[in-house]
Symmetry: C2
Subunit: 168 residues, 2 copies
DNA sequence: GCGCGTTACGCCCGTCGTAAGCATT
DNA sequence: AATGCTTACGACGGGCGTAACGCGC
């Protein structure tokens, strides 16, 4: 067994904890997540029970992180940030980091070449494999289940629409 | 707005995707997660719809990652690993990674010293700040974020029971 | 026929909001 | 009184298993 995934805290619990840890208040976390403080309170308690560790000190009517909670908050914040970044990046670059193009030489030199640098600048994570074909082909014939589209180089890269891709 | 937490994919979706990506099979992922392949299939589809990106190519009766899926899988795997590690580590070291002790010299040399190595061996992530005091003091007044506890050195470290600690 | 993925149908449990309670300021 | 956390209660919905289907081996 790799990692015991089954006992991972849910995203809801982790988000609630992270927001609470950052703001130092269940109420503030509730506002941020568009939930009630009641929900936050229950989620934090649930997380603590699941982990078997107290994450917050309840004093008076404020809460404060325990040392354990602080360390956990750092890790969780980083993990959530990574998931968020990966998900957003995926929506921005549906190609998966590599884009294979088969084009006609004339098209490449006249139309594509001048636009490439700007495109690459807007999609930093992306690598492009350019292949020039001498004959016109309907996109890439040997690509399984490709969604043909005009992979818009003028697009600002915000869309969730389909794009063409190949794989090796 | 820090990170748009509200639209993060759930742990279930991510776990299902990660297991499927690693095994290359929904059925295998289902076995690993103690779910039905039906559940995995639905989760993957839900994740794809939520992200607006195809993660798997359905061919014949097997599935293959798209390039986008591969990149996403790497990030998700790392994030899940981090959450898992943080959670497990927290259960093992409820003190928050650092344990500040203020003890009497005699106690330190006679009782504590012989037990320290074994304790450190059982709690690999933990760092201990030892301060010897000549007078009996209630914990360490000047140490920020110190966790006083009886920090049971004979304890096997698996419990979910409460522990007492202070904060600054 | 067997194995794998997809889809439809109920059901259950997790999680929410509301609301009441308690303590502190 | 006002604020902040806790807890009880009822309702809604996401996510599950079962089962039936299609499709290659």
């Amino acid at each position: 067994m790799q990692t015991p995934r089954r006992l991972l805290p849910s995203i809801g619990l982790l988000s609630a904890f992270e927001a609470s840890a950052r703001t130092g208040s269940f109420t503030a976390a509730a506002r941020e997540l568009n939930l009630t403080q009641s929900a936050i309170s229950r989620q934090i308690r649930a997380l603590e029970e699941q982990l078997g560790v107290e994450l917050f000190l309840r004093e008076r009517q404020t809460v404060r992180l325990t040392p354990a909670g602080e360390a956990y908050a750092r890790d969780i914040r980083e993990a959530l940030r990574r998931i968020s970044a990966a998900s957003l990046n995926l929506r921005a670059n549906p190609f998966g980091g590599t884009l294979n193009l088969a084009i006609l030489p004339t098209f490449g030199t006249r139309w594509l070449a001048p636009r490439l640098p700007d495109f690459l600048a807007r999609h930093p994570g992306i690598t492009i494999n350019l292949a020039t074909r001498l004959v016109e082909a309907d996109a890439a014939p040997d690509v399984p289940q490709s969604a043909r589209s005009r992979s818009n180089f003028n697009d600002r890269g915000g869309g969730s629409r389909r794009r063409t891709y190949e794989h090796d």
